[in-house]
């Protein structure tokens, strides 16, 4: 079954942590470097996020994402290194492309922060089953209908892509040119997009009917097939994160 979820099934402690706690961690890991602008704080947060990724044994799965991010960061290094307004100390290069110490430092800081944010998000995304996260959120009062939408995105979108592929093949087999110059592609757009949109609308209506008769809009108390899961160290994690957040705010105000 194809899905958009990046979840990697593993048996690690990180995988067993409550999804909500992981969200809280992600928020904290992003917030702390914002509260404490020092490079050391950002670097520490990044190190923690990265080592948690390693602890969850999902480093290999996170590499493609990091590769993409580093590609973008390379341009940041070039632009900041050459053109950062505060540039004073030239290091190496040929005019007008001279790398400056200040710009490289700036690029470095940006790089660490971005890596930190990406790592914190990946920790959540790679180690959490979307369905578990949604279930936890609905149990905490999120509307089951929003929960359904979040859950179904991961399956309905791939299904819609399948439909699109079928329509593309069907139109091609009737002689529609879909490859070639830009103009050919533009001309092919309408005969493709109209059936795709129409079939999506029809499917959406039919699915809405089917959901309706399965009580999606029932107003009473809902129940769950799965027993409520107990997650380890929830209190400790939340306490710890709160402590870190408070400490960094206090530090910022005092420092």
């Amino acid at each position: 079954m194809k899905t958009f979820s990046l979840y990697v099934p593993r048996d690690s402690l990180i995988h067993r942590i409550n999804p909500i706690d992981k969200i809280l961690y992600t928020i904290t890991a992003i917030a702390v470097p914002l509260i404490l602008p020092s490079m050391a704080a950002s670097f520490l947060c990044m190190l923690i996020s990265l080592s948690l990724l390693a602890a969850a044994r999902v480093v290999r799965q996170s590499l493609p994402v990091f590769a993409f991010v580093f590609l973008i960061l390379c341009t940041v290094v070039l632009i900041q290194g050459w053109f950062y307004p505060g540039n004073q100390t030239p290091l190496f290069g040929v005019e007008p492309f001279v790398f400056h110490a200040e710009g490289l430092m700036k690029a470095c800081r940006i790089g660490i922060r971005v890596t930190n944010v990406v790592a914190a998000f990946l920790l959540l995304v790679l180690t959490t089953k979307p369905a578990d996260l949604v279930e936890e959120l609905v149990r905490r009062g999120l509307s089951p209908r929003i929960g359904y939408v979040l859950d179904s995105i991961f399956q309905i979108l791939p299904q819609m892509m399948n439909t699109t592929r079928t329509i593309l093949d069907a139109q091609r087999s009737r002689g529609l040119e879909t490859e070639g110059s830009l103009w050919v592609r533009v001309k092919a757009f309408l005969p493709l997009i109209v059936p795709v949109v129409m079939s999506s609308l029809i499917h959406a209506k039919e699915r809405a009917l089917a959901l309706e008769v399965r009580g999606l809009h029932f107003e009473g108390q809902r129940t769950w097939l799965r027993e409520k899961r107990t997650y380890p160290y929830s209190r400790e994690i939340r306490g710890g994160l709160l402590l870190v957040l408070t400490a960094s705010i206090v530090w910022r105000i005092l420092g």
Partner: protein, 279 residues
Amino acid sequence: MSKIRVEHLKYRYPSSEKLALDDLSFEVDEGEMIGIIGRNGAGKSTLCQAFVGLVPHFYRGAYGGKVVVSGLEVLKSSVSQLARRVGIVFQNPFTQVTGSKWTVYEEVAFGLENLGVPRKEMIDRIDYALQLLGMEKYRDRHPFDLSGGQMQRMAIASVIALQPEILVLDEPTSQLDPQGSEEVFRAVHRLREEGMTVILAEHNMEKIARYCNRVMLLDGGKIIDFASPASVFSRADLTRYGVVPPVYTRVCRELNAKREGSPHFPVTLEEACEVLKGR
């Protein structure tokens, strides 16, 4: 006691000027299996959806008359309330998959979770429904990885798990291959043996003749006839309503082979054999 009572039901879709259902009145008793036939646009699907409250609650539109299903008046009940009394299975098995669950077992649980059925009871009901539909061996499969016939049986199981008293099937096999279609009909037959009241809109007249005890012929939103399959399929004017009678009836009509002591032609293979052998 009648399970379904319809009195002067009239309905018009909001975007239309024509009545989709035009002054229908009839009753259905417990344990009956009713076939609804008629050409496309005759009002079969609309009538099916009128039993479960999608007409008028989902579509809105103009509504008149009264539909009472197992004691609940449709106009005054919500679709979710009605879902516990009457279940519906639609044409396309694919769009009935919720897309939010990862196994067949969880998929069947969807409606039960929404309606707040306690967990213990839920598990019993799912096991029963899967077993009844012959789906236990697929319980851990992904819903979208099933064949059409299996998906449709899963849809029926999801509805059966809600323990309705009436099951409405709106052309449940029109998008299935012969094998998938046979699987679904066998499942429906089993349900009927369990005493379920079944309403079946269907284009396959042989199946209607074989499984239903009464047939309703619709045209232009009106009831043309509502009687036994033999009586309805023996009508000489069926083609005028876009209906081709079962092949057995057509053959016997050509041979003018009626059942002994009956004004009607045979409608099933068995009846036709019996009549033709005696000649």
